[in-house]
């Protein structure tokens, strides 16, 4: 059908959406979803399933969509994923399930992510998601989950389904981790995140916000005083990196984490109706080219910056962001300054950003990662006229747990050392997601949470 092409995703027009925080992608209609689902060949040996970090039975759920059995499709999704409405929106399907779809060889792969989103949204809108499942036999053991991001949510959900008494601790005032503070409203509405989390509460997961593990309780105290038999650490990659160039402490310079947290978690885009302010310049330079950089750039645009530049030292081919997000950003008027490397942030006499000094780069020999490494072109320095800079060059692990858990083995970068099932150097303490791997994707963190839940079950059964 349609010459091997997928159904396009309805979207807000670019020059409308770049001024509001409503969701960009509007979702398939029922008719589109059924039509798209009918494209699936229902392969006997589906390659998509194996490339999904949580192994969703993709052809099965799509088959149910094609038959208009949306409730059944939803059940199949929920068997493996606690957060289908989230994953359908933010997973890099092109590198995972859709990347392996046989239809992609000659045409376009089945739009698996869009179908997942449709099924989850349809279930939520028709009120049959989060229906209480038959409770598993209660197990008389308590498990603590540290961090309520994608990894912790998945681990908590799986353990609760197995019947464990699960308590999830969150340092901020709202559960969801990066889904709440990092990914913008226009890509992942916070109401949807909270709705998915409410499903976990129905499973019996006890969520404690405002509890900073390492401070409020240490891991040791959780196990020795609070009665937890196992702990899962999924605290993510929360520590922002800076470039260590001159001028990074000028006013008008943000880490992407701070900029996005102010806007997403604290809803500063509604200032002054909310109390948290955010500074937005007339021209903003976003340093970096990952998904976080795209989010920061598109957010700055929506908040009124006239010019928003992505400043990246390599070329478009090497940009780590999803193609879809780069495309969205360009459509919304984000300007790419590729092969440009910042060398200093220039300030005015009052201590505010007045420019970003960059040097132009060219691609040289391939480096260890196989990417051609950028080399500065001598004498090509210039100053980009901006009054705001956002550093979106990655995040490292927060040191709080490491510093307060002496026996916990970490690597040179401060990431927790864990085996493929999440077991750490301390018996009963498991870890997964970005705190182990360094900054990665929502779904890989969920995959780690899932594996760890199984490993924790095995560990506790053996005790």
């Amino acid at each position: 059908m349609r010459g091997g092409m997928r159904n396009p995703m309805p979207e807000q027009p670019a020059n409308v959406r770049n001024k509001n925080f409503e969701e960009v992608a509007l979702g398939y209609t029922k008719e589109m979803a059924v039509d798209e689902a009918q494209r699936c060949l229902n392969c006997p040996k589906p390659r998509c399933v194996g490339s999904c970090p949580v192994n969703i039975e993709i052809p099965k759920f799509i088959h149910e969509v094609a038959q208009e059995n949306f409730a059944e499709a939803y059940k199949i999704l929920k068997r493996k994923s606690a957060l289908p409405a989230v994953c359908g929106r933010v997973c890099p399907q092109e590198n995972q399930c859709e990347g392996k779809c046989i239809l992609g060889i000659k045409g376009e792969p089945v739009a698996i992510g869009r179908l997942e989103r449709f099924v989850a949204d349809y279930a939520r809108e028709h009120g049959y998601d989060n229906e209480a499942e038959a409770p598993a036999e209660r197990k008389d053991k308590k498990v603590a989950i540290v961090g309520s991001g994608p990894s912790g949510l998945t681990c908590a959900g799986d353990l609760a389904k197995m019947g464990y008494d699960v308590t999830m601790y969150e340092a901020l005032h709202a559960a969801g981790g990066v889904l709440m503070y990092g990914i913008p409203q226009f890509r992942l509405p916070k109401e949807i995140v909270q709705h998915e989390i409410s499903g976990l509460k129905k499973l019996g997961v006890n969520i404690v916000v405002n509890a900073v593990i390492g401070r409020t309780f240490t891991i040791k105290e959780l196990m020795e005083e609070e009665g937890f038999s196992a702990v899962y650490v999924g605290t993510g990659a929360g520590l922002p990196h800076f470039m260590h160039i001159d001028g990074e402490n000028l006013n008008g310079v943000y880490s992407a984490n701070e900029f996005l947290t102010r806007v997403n978690l604290m809803k500063a885009y509604q200032f002054p109706n909310v109390a948290t302010p955010v500074y937005v310049g007339k021209s903003a330079a976003i340093v970096g080219a990952g998904n976080v950089a795209m989010d920061a750039a598109r957010t700055a645009k929506r908040l009124g910056a006239e010019h928003v530049y992505i400043v990246y030292r390599r070329s478009e081919e090497e940009m780590p962001a999803r193609k879809e997000e780069i495309g969205h950003a360009k459509e919304e008027g984000i300007e790419l300054r590729l092969l440009n490397n910042p060398t200093a942030i220039i300030g005015n006499e009052k201590g505010w950003v007045s420019g970003l000094q960059c040097v132009k780069m060219e691609l040289g020999e391939a480096d260890a990662s196989g990417r051609r490494s950028p080399v500065a072109i001598a004498g090509s320095e210039y100053v980009l006229d901006v009054d705001m800079v956002v550093m979106a060059i990655g995040q490292g692990p927060n040191p709080l747990i490491k510093d307060t858990t002496p026996d916990l083995e970490v690597n040179k970068r401060g990431n927790i050392v864990a085996d493929e099932f999440g077991a750490t150097s301390i018996p009963g303490v498991f870890a997964g997601g970005d705190i182990v791997t360094g900054a990665a994707t929502v779904i890989s963190a969920m995959g780690a949470g899932k594996k760890a839940a199984a490993a924790i079950d095995e560990y506790l059964q053996g005790k």
Partner: protein
């Protein structure tokens, strides 16, 4: 939720609140702080823990109504009301030990965070000399509490309405010039006051600590909004501090960074720019 147990106006626009926060009271150490969110529209505001009682599970907050959120907290919240979120304890506890003679300097409501640290110094057998300064006698807080845990209390006011006329740095400089043996100086107050204290002690080589009250969002190391240059390195006040070697802190950068939202809000903790110590 944290219930307000007592609320008292202790100086113009300065309130003392005792708040039910057992998880914080259970663990907190001198020098640590909490982040408070009054309601769902609120900012996350860092407030130092001015006192705590492990028995009752309560902490004491001293709040100056200077910013949107602190004004809202002081004006609209009363005994029996719940503060939506109180999270902590955050930050590294103060370094404790028997140092010898410790001079603690509290400017304005900076006396409040000084108090539990000075008390701990005192309990460990240090000689504690407290210097408390403010613009006017009405703005001096906790003089009696400080007297109980200090070997000596010196009051200074800008206008001479209480204690000696002048700045907190005056008696400190005199002590140092007179050759008094001082092993440690702790300064908490407006940034300019801490900067001046550091400048006074530096030539004498006396170890000096300042507790920094920077802009913060999460308070757990996530946003980097609290970053400050210390000894040429960027540090996060929330997880690396809030206390730092005052001789290493780039106070000029800190003063500048405190202006980031000048147009949108007043800053917490500071004297709001009214304090005359800025002019020194």
């Amino acid at each position: 939720m944290a219930k307000i147990i007592t609320k008292e106006l202790i100086a113009p626009a300065v309130y003392e609140m005792v708040v039910d926060a057992p998880l914080v009271a259970h663990k907190c150490q001198p020098g640590q702080f909490v982040i408070v969110r009054t309601d769902e529209f609120s900012e996350r505001v860092p407030l130092t823990i001015a006192d705590f009682n492990r028995g009752t599970g309560c902490i004491t907050l001293i709040i100056q109504a200077v910013g949107n959120t602190t004004r809202h907290l002081c004006e609209s919240f009363n005994v029996g009301d719940d503060i939506l979120d109180v999270v902590g304890p955050l930050g590294r506890p103060s370094e404790m030990g028997k140092f010898g003679t410790v001079v603690v300097v509290g400017g304005g409501i900076g006396v409040a965070p000084v108090y539990p640290i000075a008390r701990a110094y005192h309990e460990l057998g240090n000689k504690v000399i407290s210097i408390i300064g403010a613009r006017d006698k009405d703005l001096i807080i906790w003089q009696e509490k400080m007297a109980v845990i200090s070997d000596e209390v010196i009051i200074t006011t800008d206008n001479g309405s209480a204690g000696r006329k002048g700045f907190v740095t005056d008696p400190l400089r005199e002590m140092l010039e007179a050759g008094e043996k001082i092993d440690l100086v702790l300064a908490i107050g407006p940034v300019i006051m801490m900067k001046n204290v550091a400048a006074v002690t530096k030539p004498f080589g006396v170890k000096t600590t300042a507790s920094l009250n920077t802009i913060m969002v999460d308070g757990t190391g996530m946003c980097g909004g609290c970053r400050v240059m210390v000894g040429g390195e960027n540090k996060f006040a929330c997880v690396d501090g809030p206390e730092f070697d005052a001789h290493q802190v780039d106070f000029a950068n800190l003063v500048m960074r405190q202006q980031m939202y000048k147009n949108q809000e007043s800053l917490e903790y500071s004297c709001g720019g009214h304090c005359k110590c800025v002019e020194e």
